[in-house]
């Protein structure tokens, strides 16, 4: 295990790569799917992009040793914010966009401050804000508009940037996903902030003693995750010309599964952006790609469950290998 393969097997995304290939191979072998129709299809890539944009910052949070499940409420919150502001009240679309993003920032700040100031685990904190935001959005929209569903007609430029189909089937949000993946990858792996995130997830006290502003970093990560979720909701509202208060709950488990399949250690300190990207892609192939197979789609959750367990076991093994890895001495 030396040279290139040795380098590769040490990467956190190695397991995710295997999962991705294995799932496609499984569908080809047992589902009779043709690769050209699968890769030409938009449905699973659209799904992956929506999921992936949320999974990126949540994955970084997980590497830093925290969790954010309030994203489940932030997705409908983002779409309702823009729909109420720019649809119901007819304000300029820019106000709606800024409003949706600002709401994400606010909830992220609340999560972050609570996580920093109290010793309550972030799972519980964000469970609280998840339910609270859900209530706020439902009650707020009924109070303001009298309905739980609000139409929105975005101008052409907003549709072009945030919610339009390319070649009639690919959502423009896919491009956002790619761009954000590159940016997050740069921040996590090339900049010093990435090192801080890893150190924080590895041992928060040591990281703080080494001079890392762990509190500010944690708050920033919470802001990123809820703003990203709000962004995805906002794009959805622009795309589909309406917003509903329900939905978004599936994202909680879907993001966690794709991040873990992507090789991020649930307790923090280990992971990669490439892994998170591949995790979202793999999850999307399993849950949406099944429509291209002869397999009854009701089986897809079973496959996801088995894949999650297999991926976790596999990632544990690879992490052990990575830790023990000693390069051959070049004599």
């Amino acid at each position: 295990m030396s040279g290139l393969f040795g380098q590769f097997i040490r990467r956190p995304e190695f397991g995710a790569m295997l999962s991705f290939v294995a799932v496609i191979a499984f569908y080809v072998a047992f589902g009779g799917v043709s690769l050209s129709s699968l890769f030409g299809a938009a449905s699973w890539i659209n799904f992956a992009a929506n999921l992936g944009i949320v999974a990126l910052p949540v994955g970084l949070l997980m590497i830093a040793g925290e969790l954010d499940i309030s994203i489940g409420a932030m997705i409908p919150a983002g779409s309702m914010s823009i729909a109420i502001l720019s649809g119901y009240y007819d304000l300029p679309i820019v106000v709606g966009i800024l409003g949706a993003l600002a709401f994400g920032v606010l909830v992220g700040l609340a999560n972050g401050f609570l996580a920093v100031r109290t010793s309550v685990p972030s799972l519980i904190i964000t469970l609280g804000t998840l339910v609270a935001v859900q209530g706020l959005v439902l009650a707020g929209s009924v109070m303001l508009t009298g309905a739980a569903s609000v139409p929105l007609n975005a101008p052409a430029w907003a549709k072009l940037v945030f919610g339009q189909l390319i070649f009639g089937k690919f959502q423009v949000i896919i491009l956002w996903w790619f761009a954000l993946t590159v940016i997050f990858g740069f921040v996590l792996h090339a900049m010093r902030y990435g090192n801080w995130i890893f150190a924080m997830g590895g041992d928060e006290v040591s990281a703080r003693n080494a001079g890392i502003p762990t509190n500010r970093l944690k708050i920033a990560l919470f802001v990123l995750s809820s703003t990203a979720a709000s962004f995805v909701g906002m794009c959805g509202a622009i795309q589909f010309n309406s917003a509903q208060v329900s939905g978004g709950m599936n994202y909680i488990f879907n993001t966690i599964v794709s991040i873990v399949v992507g090789g991020v250690l649930l307790t923090g300190g280990f992971g990669s952006v490439a892994g998170i990207f591949l995790g979202a892609l793999t999850f999307a192939v399993v849950s949406q790609g099944i429509y291209f197979t002869d397999i009854d789609r009701n089986w897809s959750n079973l496959i996801i469950g088995v894949m999650l367990l297999a991926a976790v076991l596999m990632n544990n093994t690879f992490r052990e290998i990575a830790m023990r890895y000693v390069p051959k001495k070049s004599k």
Binding site: R10, F186, N195, G202, G269, F270, A322
Partner: protein, 274 residues
Amino acid sequence: MSDKVPILELQKVDKSFGPIDVLFDISLKVRAGEVLCLLGDNGAGKSTLIKTLAGVHKPTRGTILLDGKPVEFSGPRNAQEMGISTVHQFGGTFPLMSIGRSFFVGVEPTKGWGPFKVYDRKKANEIAVKAVQDFGITRIDDGDRLVGGLSGGERQSLAIARAVHFGARVLILDEPTAALGVKQAAHVLRIVNEAKRRGLAVIFITHQVMHAMTVGDHFAVLIRGAIAADFRRGEKTREEITDLMAGGETMADLEAQVESYMASHEGHPPPPAQ
């Protein structure tokens, strides 16, 4: 050697947490190029003393002198800036980070400009590997290896090398050999000697008398928060030190008790204390 001003000195330091007195009237000195061994059984107040030295706790009474001048640390970070570094039992490093990355946590070398400043992996790895090798750990030659893959002794060495690299003058080693095997412990003791040779003041906390006697110049035994004995190298034997740590009751007495019990109970050892 003893005419030099001590780098770090405690004068009549007390520490209490509310009504509970943990440290009582502690006076200690450590000079450059000297190893001070703090011996004490579990619960003797060693960790509180370390934390007081490292700036985590403030003394309730008494003064800390640095280079002969009284100081007050605002926190562990402040103590570190003044050159006092603590290395904890497991090295305080990050198991899933590479050697280079964990070495430079918080002070990463970067290259490039503006928002595109990137972490300089090559430089970090080079410096980290060189720093560790200078301490005699030549087996570490790849800065990309994960810290978790190193042996316990190597991790300690890495942490010590890191502290020295970032300008530590006083090195507080908290039970560095406690979790290690014989060979690994010897490894760490060599590193301690090397740090001493470089003129660092080392405070070596342990309950293993053998290890203390191998490297120590000066010994202090801590019992129930007070210094029970303070002596220099060669002034006491290993048995005497062990007896002191056990709190006055000599090991020999204990053995005699066990033997007499066994003699009068058909060779059965005494039941464990309740």
